[in-house]
């Protein structure tokens, strides 16, 4: 698989300590946003609380249709009299006060079960994605000032007790811009959620994964945007909020070291999960451009056809002389000959005609055509007339 470099651990003042951790194999798992998205979506359904319309809603009347012949629509109408309600339509989804179409029922299938392998695959993918800075940036977290990704801090931070110290820590580590982004995004939820105890919403900030809680929860939990989870209970809904991979995670050293045990590396099975090893990728090397340039593949290919053949428009040789000449070189000569002959013939004929008429011809106009209204023929005719006489 891919190389697994050493990750430096940072202390509370954000200085690199001497200790390093080899990158857990999880971070080299396949990043499959499709699986993450699917599993996330299914998992979300599991927290749903059922909703339904009241069972008897719209049916608590003894309405009956008046039938035909009363000049009213045939919908069941409320019995009796003496009130507005009498005679009004009932029971239908189109009626005011009627039951809705397909009343929602509590026995709808709210929850989904997801295959355990799929679940684990999704978590591995999501964790792997948190090791790619581009994905974290693309998700929207401001990590431009973070010293390293994945960000591992010493176990000392698990003992933090005061929020003030926690804030100082985040600022020194360069995670504060991300928190600030959450603070700036505080706004009211659109819609009825406002009056259902979900009034305010804001963005998600850094996720802090710890190994042992010595007070860290209390220190960090009031900071806007920050979420805390323990490493042995990683939750996809927290690691890939919204179904999108690439949340910004701050690990503690202990938590980071545990990842290899929890998820295994390919040579070793997971210790914590029964019968689980990291997912095998479909392609070991997914760098397509590199592959295509590789020697082994290039050797197996035939030579590329660089010649571009474009379809030519078919032209009719009988109309297009150039094309005719291509097919029959003599055509040009033939055509010329034909033209010359025609000219000769015309001339001869004209000469004959002129002779018969006794016209001495100088140049162009056919002086015979009388009523053309043009000066020249008229002049010629005038010339002719006196001669005729």
């Amino acid at each position: 698989m891919a190389a697994r470099p050493l990750v430096t651990v940072y202390d509370e003042k954000c200085e690199a300590t001497k200790s390093t951790v080899r990158l857990p194999a999880v971070f080299r798992a396949q990043i499959r946003p499709d699986i993450v998205s699917f599993v996330h979506f299914q998992m979300l359904k599991n927290t749903q609380q059922p909703y339904a319309v009241a069972e008897k809603a719209g049916h608590q009347t003894s309405a009956e249709s008046w039938g035909t012949g009363r000049a009213v629509a045939r919908i069941p109408r409320v019995r009796g009299g003496g009130t507005h309600r009498s005679g009004q339509g009932a029971f239908g989804n189109m009626c005011r006060g009627g039951r809705m179409f397909a009343p929602t029922k509590t026995w709808r299938r709210w929850h989904r079960r997801i295959n355990i392998t799929q679940r684990r695959y999704a978590i591995c993918s999501a964790v792997a994605a948190t090791g790619v800075p581009s994905l974290i940036l693309a998700k929207g977290h401001r990590i431009e000032q973070v010293p390293e990704v994945p960000l591992v801090m010493s176990d000392k931070i698990q003992e933090l007790k005061k929020t003030r110290e926690a804030v100082k820590l985040l600022k020194s580590v360069g995670a504060w811009p991300d928190v600030q982004r959450c603070i700036d995004s505080k706004r009211l939820r659109p819609g009825k959620g406002k009056m259902r105890n979900r009034r305010r919403i804001m963005k998600r900030g850094p996720l802090i994964v710890y190994g042992k809680n010595d007070g860290i929860t209390r220190a960090f939990r009031n900071i806007p945007g920050v979420t805390l989870i323990k490493v042995d209970r990683l939750n996809l809904l927290k690691i890939a909020p919204g179904g999108h991979v690439g949340r910004f995670i701050i690990w503690t050293e202990g938590a980071f070291r545990q990842l290899d045990e929890i998820y295994g590396n390919w040579s070793k099975k997971s210790a914590a999960k029964k019968d689980f090893n990291l997912p095998m990728p479909k392609m070991t090397n997914s760098d397509l451009s590199r592959l295509l340039r590789a020697e082994e593949i290039q050797r197996a290919l035939r030579t590329p056809r660089k010649r571009i053949v474009r379809s030519t428009m078919k032209k009719n040789p009988l109309k297009n002389l150039n094309l005719m000449v291509k097919l029959n070189p003599a055509a040009a000569m033939l055509k010329r000959r034909a033209i010359m002959q025609e000219m000769k013939r015309k001339k001869a004929r004209q000469a004959k005609v002129d002779k018969k008429r006794g016209v001495v011809k100088d140049t162009k106009p056919k002086g015979k055509a009388p009523a053309k209204g043009k000066a020249k023929p008229a002049a010629a005719a005038k010339k002719e007339q006196p001669k005729k006489k």
Partner: protein
């Protein structure tokens, strides 16, 4: 990435983007080897990111200051991006060229006289205009002017004037009549030396008579009392005979 892409038009909002478009080739997130030219306060820098530093976001971008000289800067870009993909090299140089051009334009514009555009708030302007008009009315400028002129007249800065516009004079006299009554009441309390005033007959006017009558109607002490010089009475065109014995009449004569 799509998170930086604008909704309308395929533009990238990432500040390191070379072309401004959201493409696979132009995305600073999608390419592990990338370079841009950016300008800060008139100085152009070449930013480069390589795959070796891809996991250290705070050191990711290497910043090289480009020379002020255009040719030298192009050479700098060429040497820094020597074996880089042609697309990035080409686009960097194009971007740098465009930048220098607009910087020149900026400098030229700042030299020219710049009109500062101040936005007007229509609502505010309308409100203030109305308020000015109201304040003008409330100030009663003409009255103040009138008062000032009368004061000056009383003080005698104009000497004695005999031509008054009739209605203004009458109005002033009427006012004075009221004033007199008030003042006279006050003066009853004040006890000052009585003084005899002699008034020329020609210049006697009805209002004067009425005043005198009023004066008579009130106590005799009025005749005696004189208004302290601090409160000058009416401005009348009259000549007063001053007794040299008692120079306390401070009225300036014509």
């Amino acid at each position: 990435m799509l998170s930086f892409r604008t909704k309308v038009g395929r533009f990238c909002r990432n500040e390191y983007n070379l072309t401004g478009l959201c493409n696979r080739n132009s995305c600073p997130l999608a390419n592990s080897q990338y370079a841009t030219v950016r300008e800060e306060k008139g100085i152009c820098y070449l930013y480069m990111k390589t795959i070796e530093r891809s996991h250290f976001p705070n050191r990711l971008w290497e910043k090289v200051k480009l020379s002020r000289n255009y040719e030298k800067a192009i050479e700098q870009i060429n040497t820094q991006l020597m074996y880089w993909p042609n697309f990035i090299k080409h686009k960097c140089k194009q971007r740098f060229t465009k930048m220098t051009q607009y910087l020149i334009r900026v400098r030229r514009l700042t030299m020219k006289k710049q009109k500062k555009l101040v936005p007007l708030s229509k609502k505010v302007e309308r409100r203030e205009r109305r308020r000015e008009a109201k304040a003008l009315v409330a100030a009663q400028v003409d009255r103040a002017i009138e008062k000032e002129l009368l004061d000056r007249l009383k003080k005698g800065t104009y000497g004695d004037i005999y031509n008054f516009p009739a209605h203004a004079f009458d109005k002033a006299l009427d006012k004075e009549g009221e004033e007199d009554e008030e003042e006279e009441e006050e003066e009853d309390e004040q006890e000052s030396e009585g003084e005899v005033e002699y008034v020329a007959e020609d210049e006697f006017e009805e209002s004067d008579i009425s005043d005198l009558e009023d004066m008579d109607a009130e106590s005799s002490s009025e005749d005696d009392t004189e208004k302290p010089p601090a409160i000058p009475k009416k401005k009348r065109p009259r000549v007063e005979i001053e007794y040299e014995q008692e120079p306390s009449t401070s009225r300036t004569t014509s």
